[in-house]
Amino acid sequence: MFATRRFRLLDYLVTIVVILTINFMVPRLMPGDPFLLVSAEAGEEFAVLSERQREYFMSYYGLDKPLHQQYLIYLQSLARGDLGHSIQYREEVTVIIARALPWTIFLVLSATLLSTLLGIIFAVISAWHRGKTRDNLLLVGLVSISEIPGFLLGLSFLLLFSVYLGWFPLAGASTPFVRFDSLLGKLIDIIHYAFLPIIVLTLSRVSGSYLLVRNTLILVLTKDYMKTARAKGLPERVIRYRHAMRNALLPLVNRIALQFGGLVGGAVLIENVFAYPGLGSLMAGAALARDYNLLQGILLVLAVGVLLANFMADLVSRRLDPRIR
């Protein structure tokens, strides 16, 4: 037991080192550099730095040193918890990430929670009424909704709920420039703004857990131990929830953990539609601007997030499945 746990730890460590190296190398291998600002989108000013300014900035950010030296410096500062300065925003990467991260976690976590809950509820209804109208309706309905690209769903929701009905704001994460007297008022404002993005992200995710739980439930329901449970004369409620559900939840837990990274990717589109702050749009911007330090930082946080989610999934699986314990 002890030996395997140590092995696990080593596993995670090796993974992190590999991720660190890739995070460091890939942005720098992309063509272009952060100080190349030549062409511009419509409506934008032409800005090209003079050779002298360019050299000044390159040496200021240490980008004129050989790559291996930069890598060592990166590892050293990382060990001190220093992720460096963002080239684009002229601010510490940790500060920028710390500002964006809560929004993303809030969005992603709420959507995960909601889509999982809804998925389970619908899956249970479907599985109990397998092959009947209710099951068919749910199956077709949920799968079709999930097939609509998130941004399209987002735009239609915006049109319906924000423009025509006027129930929700169009963009942003809280009313700009307003100061709230109470924490509650602030909370309500934030939920008001987050409502549509969360619902859209939830809807585009719900079919995943729904299908998984439905299929496993259907499989579980045909198992011998279900017959045994019925033969013992256990009440239907206990059979359904304690015996069937518990077994059907196992693959779901793993799926949620694995999905975590993908969800952040999905959040990028939603963040764009609703101009919602978060890691997703920050990362897209950093990649386009070749903001190496910021990009590294975000990728690192995401990688650690996914590893953490895996770790938690491990723990929860142990709880749910006595065979692993």
Binding site: A40, R52, Q53, L109, A171, P176
Partner: protein, 548 residues
């Protein structure tokens, strides 16, 4: 007992998630709370001075924001235009650009020596920094020295400064290393920094205190939320200059600009050409059509592709490409066809009398034949009878990709085969600036700047990307001559001549200049001003009464 424990296990995952969610929600609110207290602190220092009673009756101008352009000071800002214009709301320059040309700003007047190398600036006497300290010539001397030592984010070449000295408290003398006609124009982008604050700052790139936002400009930053990209600037009460027309300028997060404009979340926004009629017929909106000073260009690599060295071949490209059609199809009419003389028709020094190349594929073929190229079976053959194809490099985004596809069609109609290569913008830019391409379609703004832009781009040793093997001694001579010509009429005549050479030689082909449209709610605010050299409306003179 056992069953309670089991229930806990069963739901532990969800419970953990729920708790984490709540914690997070609180952390967000708490976090925002902190930002606000900082803002409050910033405000209390300035509010008494800032909000007079009549100021509050003025409108608030709200524009599309949502992107973090950085803290609006000359060092912390993002390099792009929207960030610079935010800095301009807080900081001032000695000379400023307005609707009809350059105007005196922090300098009331100036004199230029006969040799064109010494500038004497006479400063305004009634100017105070936002913290109440007086603005004097010491600040000007400091600003120029400091920025020469620590280049801020700007396109200015600081090597032009030789030295700067204080004559008295309100007079400054500036020596340039060479006589430079566009120098005054360049001065419109050098912001004055308070010596009593920046004098103690060793590393300006890391200086982001509230004090880094003290300028002499018409506005102060009241609220700034980085992750949402929202900014609120309020009128500075003791502003020395023209009266404010607004009490505040706000940039708010916007998902879809059209929806936000319709809903009244913002008061002005860019509108695609297809929707202009809709807004025009709406009595709540007025339309502004900005000048076309943003160019889309076809670059030729003369250095590596011998066949492009013949100007007839480049002219054939010009005849073969239907620029009116490009404007109609790519821009839905919201643009101006490219001018072979390079300066856009909306540039104040545009010369209309240059060779033109009306769409004429027949003429293109005649030109190609004249230099010994022929078309066989729909393919262009070079002098050795080998088929010629070109790689056309461009960014895969919107207008770039559409333009490239159309250009490919026009050229293939006369038998020139094109391979389109696309990448993301920085990848394409790197290949372009390194001269690593055959043909390149590229776009950028700034074509309303001083006409010296022609020298900067096309004369020997020009900007990266432009410097791809075209050379013309007569052009270089004229380019140098206009640079030190202070007589405006004579300078204009020289620049006319430069445009004629460019139009005949076509070192690159201007495809079109985009104009676009702004729609704004005139009942909320109608003071929007376009600068004579730019196509944006979020500049400081848009918010001030015109009296300079």
């Amino acid at each position: 007992m056992l069953s309670i424990k089991k229930t806990w296990y069963r739901y532990s995952f969800l419970v953990i998630l729920l708790i984490m969610g709540m914690l997070l929600l609180f952390s967000i609110t708490a976090c925002n709370g902190n930002v606000n207290t900082e803002e409050e602190a910033r405000e209390t220092g300035q509010e008494q001075q800032n909000t007079g009673q009549d100021e509050l009756e003025k409108p608030v101008a709200r524009l599309a924001g949502g992107e973090d352009w950085g803290l609006p000071n000359p060092y912390a800002r993002n390099p792009r235009g929207p960030a610079e214009r935010k800095v301009g709301l807080i900081f001032d320059t000695l000379v400023e650009r307005a609707a009809d040309g350059m105007v005196p700003w922090l300098a009331e007047d100036w004199a230029i020596s006969d040799d064109g190398k010494t500038y004497t600036f006479y400063l305004r006497r009634d100017v105070k920094w936002h913290d109440g300290v007086e603005f004097t010539s010491d600040d000007v001397v400091f600003s120029i020295n400091y920025q020469s030592e620590h280049p801020p984010v700007s396109t200015m070449d600081y090597s032009i400064f030789d030295r700067v000295e204080k004559v008295d408290d309100y007079t400054v003398r500036l020596y340039t290393t060479e006589p430079s006609a566009p120098f005054l124009y360049e001065m419109t982008s050098i912001y004055m920094l308070p010596e009593h604050i920046w004098g103690n700052v060793d590393d300006p790139l890391q200086f982001t205190d509230d004090d880094s936002l003290i300028g002499t400009g018409p506005f102060t930053l009241e609220s700034y939320n980085r992750e949402q990209g929202s900014y609120r600037f309020i009128a500075a009460a003791d502003f020395w200059g023209p009266e404010h027309r607004v009490q505040a300028v706000e940039f708010v997060p916007v998902g879809d600009e059209i929806l936000a404009l319709r809903q009244g979340d913002i008061h002005i926004g860019s509108v695609p050409a297809d929707l202009v009629e809709q807004f025009e017929s709406d009595p709540e909106f007025s339309i502004i059509e900005p000048p076309g000073l943003w160019s889309m260009r076809l670059h030729f690599n003369l250095r590596d592709i011998p066949v492009l060295q013949q100007k007839e071949v480049r002219q054939a490209f010009a005849y073969a490409i239907d620029q009116d059609d490009l404007v109609n199809k790519v821009l839905r009419g919201a643009g101006v066809p490219g001018n072979p003389g390079m300066l856009p028709p909306d540039h104040i020094w545009h010369n209309p009398d240059v060779p033109q190349y009306e769409y004429d594929p027949e003429e293109a073929l005649r030109l190609l034949e004249r230099v010994g190229l022929e078309i066989a079976e729909g393919k262009l053959l070079d002098q050795n009878g080998q088929p010629v194809t070109f790689d056309l490099l461009t960014s895969g985004e919107g207008d770039y990709a559409r333009t490239a596809e159309l250009v490919k069609n026009y050229l293939e109609e006369i038998g020139i085969q094109i391979n389109i290569q696309s990448g993301d913008r920085l990848t394409v830019d790197e290949s372009w600036t390194e001269g690593n391409f055959e043909l390149n379609i590229n776009g950028h703004g700034g074509w309303g700047r001083d006409a010296d832009v022609l020298r900067q781009n096309f004369a020997a040793g020009g900007s990266p990307g432009y410097n791809t093997g075209w050379a013309n001694q007569e052009f270089d001579r004229l380019a140098l001559e206009q640079f030190s010509m202070f007589n405006e009429d004579e300078r204009r005549a020289i620049i006319d001549g430069m445009q004629v050479i460019l139009a005949d030689e076509l070192p690159l082909l201007m495809l079109y200049y985009t104009t676009g449209y702004y729609a704004y709610r005139h009942d909320v605010y109608d003071g929007w001003v376009l600068l004579y050299d730019h196509h944006t409306i979020d500049n400081k003179v848009s918010f001030l009464v015109e009296e300079y």
